[in-house]
């Protein structure tokens, strides 16, 4: 019994989906560190902690969508939308940080809710809906922002400290980035949502088998709507951190580069693309992998354009592992079922034989 408990504990702490990104990350760190010892300095890791924060938060939101069997293309351009809304609020309210943050988060939530409503009420595929929404956002941004860049790094406000601020832990200028603390807080919130609420169970049930979830009394439409709204909210928070780190906004903020990073972090993190499976630790590690890849390329003096090649290869590998793993699991389940069936047959035969013997 004790041994069984220990086994269950081990499985929960480091599953295959969590180990893979962790191992990739260790390999990247070792290679980078050998090539350039500066990689192991705190300054480098302070940067990495800062850089993972916005991508990680958006990836956590996108993870819920993918785990529910959906897809969200607005994760990238939603950052521009929420960012522009926040930037306009910043200027309109005389640099009020609280209202700026609220405007960004609410815009992200509204965008997610709009996605959710279209998908559930009009029954349009999430792929098509979010793709159309992405195009719509791009168009609206062009009209509203007219290609202008709004700078928020101004002496009158400390808004940029959300993205650039450091909590001094190891002395002057050395510490934990504020953005990373927000990321960790969001990871805890995502964990609670996933493991300790009905919402989390519903997300996994929807991704596993929507029809079975419906038959089990899960309010499919409501939870699908909620999933997109939660993802939008995470995008809004990610947008605020991106905006504060970059210190300005134009319509090119976010977009496909960020979308690719987010989706890669989700997939590398072990979230099943067909839904029903995800884990917070994996997504956090997946985000670290994506960010450290380009850091590594800079440190070993390789053109960063190679990052797309490396990222693409890693995503592809993660997808293959997901599909092959699923097939392997199915085969193992089929084998177990067949064994159970055979055992059941044997039992039935034995019972029949026993009955016959009794009758005789």
């Amino acid at each position: 019994m004790k041994e069984e408990k220990r086994k269950v504990g081990k499985r929960r702490f480091l599953t295959k989906d969590q180990l893979i990104p962790l191992c990739i990350l260790i390999v990247i760190c070792v290679v980078s560190g050998i090539a350039n010892p500066v990689f192991f300095t705190w300054a480098t890791w302070q940067n990495i902690l800062m850089q993972v924060s916005n991508v990680g938060i958006i990836a956590l939101g996108a993870m819920f969508v993918v785990a529910s069997g959906g897809l969200d293309f607005t994760a990238g351009d939603g950052v521009s939308l929420a960012g522009v809304a926040a930037a306009f609020t910043f200027l309109a309210t005389g640099y009020n940080v609280v209202l700026t943050v609220l405007a960004g988060i609410l815009t992200g939530a509204a965008m997610g809710a709009a996605n959710g409503l279209i998908i559930t009420k009009l029954r349009i595929n999430p792929f098509v809906t979010t793709l159309a929404m992405m195009t719509l956002i791009k168009g609206v941004m062009l009209v509203v922002a007219e290609g202008h860049i709004i700078h928020l790094d101004i002496p009158e406000s400390n808004f940029v400290q959300i993205g650039r601020g450091i909590i001094p832990v190891f002395g002057q200028g050395k510490g934990i980035p504020v953005a990373f603390c927000i990321f960790m807080l969001m990871a805890v919130i995502a964990f609670i949502l996933l493991r300790h609420t009905r919402f989390g169970s519903a997300v996994l049930a929807l991704g596993g088998n929507e029809e079975a979830a419906r038959l089990n009394g899960v309010k499919v439409k409501w939870y699908r709507f909620l999933v997109f709204m939660v993802a939008g909210t995470f995008t809004g928070i990610g947008a605020i951190i991106t905006l504060a780190r970059v210190g300005g906004i134009g319509i090119t903020l976010g977009g496909t580069v960020l979308l690719m990073d987010v989706m890669a972090a989700v997939v590398i993190g072990g979230t099943s693309v067909s839904g029903g499976k995800c884990n917070i630790f994996g997504v956090v590690m997946g985000t670290f992998v994506i960010i450290t890849i380009s850091t590594m390329l800079t440190y070993i003096h390789i053109d960063t354009n190679w990052r797309d090649v490396v990222k693409g290869a890693i995503i592809l590998a993660a997808l293959i592992i997901d599909v092959v793993g699923k097939k392997f699991e199915e085969a193992r389940e089929a084998k177990t079922m067949a064994a159970l069936k055979a055992e059941h047959h044997k039992e039935l035969l034995a019972q029949l034989e026993a009955q016959e013997a009794t009758q005789a």
Binding site: T41, A110, G139, V140, V160, R245, V246, G247, I249
Partner: protein, 355 residues
């Protein structure tokens, strides 16, 4: 509650859609929808995208020039897609405009469609890029280019003169883009010639990528970092948000108001005046000359300036560097603001010492 939320969001979406429709952005129109052909010339312009301030300035001042010469410009955006750019050019050819101007996405892939336009008797301007799309010695596209190789080298030399040996980093545009390639090569050559270490990474004009590559290069160089050159002023602001070792000098390129102010404040060492307003006027003026039948050479250059404070000019530029780059005039940010709004001068390779 849910119904109320649904109605509210539906209204928001409708409002956004109506707003888009009312604004009628130029990039969504199809060529041929509105051809103004009273008595003046009609030009068709296909931009790569309209997502940076420089393009907006370019269009505004291009329109100003067109109005002065009784011409109309139909501006389109290819949204970064080569297919879109080719389709828009083909539509302009069918429409029979007088001159087509493009900001080429790919200098080789566009040659056939440029030749198609030239065969149809339509003048062709490739803005800011050298594209060999002519069909004979007399029928060719006009390439409006900047002396980037000279300007990037001059700014790199200036940074090195100010801060001496160490590591110099550059945030470039994207590989394959003519301007990025020229500026990157010039920076690398200047660093090699001066015997300093250097690193170049592409920012792809994406704010998050620019910030990230800047952070990575700055951290990797550590205390040895002496200077950072961003190939575009609109992205230099993102690089400036990164904490750098004290005394690191910064240089930009293209000429933007925010960078002029930063030069005056001592945050940026120098930039090159190209300017959206400047090139907008200049390109349309080139199209006017072609439409009027003037003999415009295959490649023309924009007269550019290196912008720095008077103190920098007197201390570091005057003498050795001014002699090394005699055709490159040093001006102050205040002078740059004035020149940027004046019609740009067209110069030949000989005049800027490139021949």
């Amino acid at each position: 509650m849910k119904k109320a939320l649904a109605i509210l969001l539906a209204l928001c979406m409708m409002f956004a859609l109506v707003a888009c429709g009312q604004q009628a952005p130029v990039e969504d129109e199809q060529p041929g929808d509105e051809v103004v052909q009273d008595d003046g010339y009609v030009f068709g312009a296909v931009m790569q995208s309209l997502s940076a301030p420089i393009w907006i300035e370019l269009m505004d001042h291009g329109d100003k020039c067109a109005a002065e010469y009784n011409a109309t410009v139909d501006w389109k955006s290819a949204e970064g897609s080569l297919e879109n750019q080719i389709a828009l050019i083909e539509a302009f050819i069918e429409q029979g405009v007088d001159v087509i101007l493009i900001d080429p996405i790919d200098k080789n892939a566009l040659i056939p469609v440029i030749q198609q336009a030239l065969e149809a008797g339509i003048g062709f301007v490739t803005m800011g890029n050298l594209v060999e799309g002519g069909i004979s010695d007399d029928v060719y596209n006009v390439c409006t280019t900047y002396p980037d190789a000279r300007d990037s080298a001059a700014m790199t030399d200036l940074m090195i003169k100010v801060n001496g040996p160490g590591t110099y980093v550059m945030v470039n545009g994207s590989a394959g883009n003519f301007v990025s390639d020229v500026r990157g090569e010039a920076f690398a050559k200047a660093c090699t010639d001066a015997g300093v270490k250097y690193e170049i990474q592409d920012g792809n004009w994406d704010p998050t990528t620019v910030t990230k590559v800047t952070e990575d290069m700055v951290t990797a160089a550590g205390a040895d970092l002496k200077g950072l050159y961003n190939m575009d002023d609109s992205c230099l602001g993102y690089s400036m948000g990164v904490t750098m070792p004290e005394g690191t000098v910064l240089a930009g390129h293209n000429g933007e108001e925010s960078v002029y102010t930063a030069i005056e404040n001592g945050d940026v060492l120098c930039t090159t005046l190209i300017g959206g307003a400047h090139i907008g006027y200049w390109n349309i003026l080139t199209a006017v000359k072609i439409a009027q039948g003037e003999d415009v050479p295959h490649q023309v250059y924009l007269k550019t300036y290196i912008v720095m404070t008077e103190e920098t000019e007197n201390t570091y530029w005057a003498g050795e560097l001014a002699e090394k780059y005699p055709s490159l005039e040093a001006i102050t940010p205040a002078e740059a603001r004035v020149i940027a709004m004046e019609p740009a001068e067209m110069v030949t390779a000989e005049e800027i010492g490139l021949a």
